[in-house]
Symmetry: none
Subunit: 130 residues, 4 copies
DNA sequence: GTGGTCTAGACCACA
DNA sequence: GTGGTCTAGACCACG
């Protein structure tokens, strides 16, 4: 269900956070859907339960998912993007760094823009509405 | 000359790598230019010389700069982007993650594209030639 | 396990890189095997952990080993020699220099070839398959 | 006359030592031939005179060249390889390392041997006599 | 003067 | 427990 690369330099728990957010974005996980339990996922992905736990906590902190005691974890019904200025500046900084990197890997202006639009499409981030 | 955020979670040596790459991109540092010596920068930025070292070595590994023994470190005269497939896939993955993040921070399709183009401009990555 | 000569003029971290590569070549270390932890080796060889670190990072850069966060460092499962033209020319240059040196130390044509074949055998670099 | 790569990681003075030894081996420089003066070479190669000096001193120490006061430096008339056991073991160690490296760069047993014989030929190290 | 290596000791994130 | 980063301070080879 979720792809985790143990060798990647980005922490496993963050990879999982990303994967889940992406699944929601693509509609694979719908608001209200139940997420697999920590133990379940732990077995499926052969990853330490503590790590799964950490991902879920992070997602809950971001209000992307909610935990109902004794019932499980669910995709939040009404996620509202919080206007977090700090996060935004970090994001821009990261984006900036990636663009620099892209250039040093030989990508041209057009190629970069093309890649961005392709990814936006893949991620179901649409033009008008969204 | 270079802005380092000691509090940031991204390692100092990586920040410096980024800053130098950016400076070259913007033309502030030209091919052939001498970089400040390790000790010099160390004093300017109040950062340990070893940390500066690490940045310089990383940049040299990437062929962005080169060192002439006993003379100092210089911006490479003819940097050629190496077509590193692996790095490219990592880059795409990172970009993808950032776009997901941008969405969750409430940015719309148009805003994202606008931000990208603005950054490309800032970074002197131009349309036709580059 | 690994022989390090503290007095040698070649950096300790490079010696260790060599030793590990050789151990893999000889089959003493198999793909997938766990390498001793940085701290462990540090104690065994009475060498500073940072120096061991540097060796491991160098080997990881060369894709000879890989690290799994929190789990340790392992011999890569499928090492593929990268066709690095630059490294090849450097290698040839070094080999050339060594051959010149051998001559000046009085070794004859036959002796040199004999030494090379003996070393290849020792290193488990075989004729047909390899 | 001699090729020096300022960017190479091997010290300039060592490169020069190598180049001169090679020239002698190939017969470009004959026993008794006069070497260019330190100043001359310094200008030709745009290298610090001290560095040239160091090369000459090293070659003299190895009895490859001789200095006649007031007359200049000359290729030794009767070079006899000294049987330096230490140097021999260092040489073997270096050769061993290079062979390991060759393998990790993807060279096969046959290719390595072929390269060695080709280099020996280039260096005028012949089969019977030498 | 330059960069390269090493040590000792510390702190941190991750699993 | 693992590796990753950083500092402080030292020594060295090179030009």
């Amino acid at each position: 269900m979720f792809k985790i690369d143990q060798r990647s330099s980005t922490p496993i728990y963050q990879q999982l956070v990303q994967e889940i957010k992406e699944a929601i974005l693509k509609g694979i996980l719908q608001p209200g859907d139940k997420l697999p339990s920590v133990r379940e996922l732990s077995v499926q992905l052969t990853i330490n339960p503590n790590t799964i736990q950490k991902s879920y906590q992070e997602l809950e902190r971001q209000k992307v998912i909610e935990t109902l005691r004794g019932k499980g974890t669910f995709v939040s019904l009404n996620y509202k993007p919080s206007v977090d200025k700090e996060k935004l500046t970090v994001l821009k900084e990261n984006l900036r760094n990636i663009l620099v990197e892209a250039h040093y890997l030989g990508m041209k202006h057009g190629e970069i823009l093309q890649l961005v639009t392709r990814l936006l499409e893949e991620l179901n981030i649409k033009e008008g509405q969204n």
